[in-house]
Amino acid sequence: MPVLELDALATRHVGPLDLRIDAGECVCLQGPSGSGKSLLLRALADLDPHAGEVRLDGVACSAMPAPQWRRRVVLVAAESQWWHARVGAHFPPGFDPAQLSAVDLPPAALDWEVVRCSTGERQRLALLRALALQPAALLLDEPTGNLDAGSCAAVEALIAAYRHAHAAAVLWVSHDARQAARVAQRCLTLHDGRFMAGVPAAEAPA
């Protein structure tokens, strides 16, 4: 079962932090801008140099080749990036276009040109692209930041379904306390690079 553990993880002005996210658990991360949420996610994906250790299922990040770690612990950045002309080229071969319906997009979306996609469409596609790697842990940086209410609900449902089906550990950065209460079992607040007291999501102010 993929458990994500942080052991005295520190990067730039963040940490050292200890945290355990159980298999199938979703932890919501809140905190003001500049508190280090995105830096923490980047360190977890091993995109930034860091001190301390992260373990997935007991296996240390440093014990695994970095590309392999990043396919197991996938970061979905707040702003999605695209480098091929067409959407489909960013997906692994054998990706089933039917999965696009989970985020309210037609199967033909794989043939779309990236430049013609709206920010919200790109954000949903980027999430699907990440899930196509079948990660054991998901690091989500405001995955519904540019979405309307309908798409937002679809994305929340998709992530919940994935989490249950794969017993994935999810760390979800959100600015919306109501969303945090909907999707997460626990809520953490990052302040100046440190966790403030953890509040169960259900009791978080709505």
Partner: protein, 266 residues
């Protein structure tokens, strides 16, 4: 057929052009008269000095003197490569990668030409070695400077895309592949263009010089072809090596992009 020997008066007539241009610049307030005169003076002094150095070198054609001269040329070219880049690798890397790849490519290509093609005795005869190295080096320097500049600029500008690709589990070689290809292409384009245009648009400088010095045009053309190929080989190899080394240096052993290794000049 012998070349017409130029007298100081001949050069003075040509220099009058520079003075005229400077006067025009002053009159039209272009503000380049000072630069123009200084660089004209530099050309005169530098070329006469190097002629003296070559004269001495030709009279004492020992391998170690030729090697020393070649080393000075390579180090100067390395400095030039690093000075021309807007974003360059921080520390000694920017200088080191450019110089090392120039050494690898220009030296190999020149020594190959001296040994296998020209076959003089001794093979390091400075009359051949130094001008050949100079021409190969000058062009390789261009290619490497262009290629490295493009690569580091691209890495800084496309940082988000490169990191997004890394975040999806790509290796650094894949994540930087497009930038690396583009940088290599940019480094190679000038010499490709020069080869395509040679003889039609422009008479290359070396061939012109040989013809002015009285060589039969066909012999001059053959030498020019040789030099063009050497330059292309040197530039190509040098750019490939330099861009590959620099791309490697942009990432650490954990396949992380390290943009702080690229320093922007103030």
């Amino acid at each position: 057929m012998n070349a017409v020997v130029l007298s100081p008066v001949d050069l003075a007539i040509a220099a009058a052009l520079i003075v005229l241009l400077a006067a025009l610049s002053l009159r039209l307030r272009l503000g380049v008269e000072r630069q123009l005169l200084v660089s004209a003076a530099r050309t005169t002094v530098q070329l006469l000095l190097i002629a003296l150095v070559l004269k001495v070198l030709f009279e004492h054609a020992h391998l170690h003197w030729v090697a020393l001269m070649a080393a000075v040329m390579i180090l100067a070219a390395g400095r030039e490569v690093s000075a021309r880049q807007k974003h360059r690798l921080a520390g000694w890397w920017g200088y080191g990668i450019g110089t090392a790849s120039m050494f690898l490519s220009s030296f190999t290509v020149t020594v190959l030409a001296l040994l296998a093609v020209i076959g003089n005795d001794p093979w390091y005869a400075p009359q051949y070695a130094i001008p050949l190295l100079g021409m190969v080096l000058g062009n390789t320097m261009n290619g490497i400077a262009l290629g490295l500049d493009r690569l580091t600029l691209d890495a800084v500008q496309r940082r988000a895309v490169i990191e997004a690709r890394l975040a999806l589990g790509e290796r650094w070689q894949q994540a930087i592949a497009e930038s690396r290809h583009e940088a290599m292409r940019v480094g190679l384009i000038p010499i490709i263009n020069a080869m395509a245009a040679a003889g039609i648009v422009s008479l290359p400088g070396m061939m012109t010089g040989q013809i002015l010095a009285g060589a039969p045009p066909l012999e001059a053309a053959k030498y020019q072809i040789l030099v063009m190929f050497l330059i292309a080989g040197g530039t190509g190899l040098g750019t490939l090596v330099a861009v590959s080394l620099a791309a490697r240096r942009l990432f650490d052993e954990r396949h992380r992009l390290r943009p702080e290794r690229v320093g922007s000049r103030p």
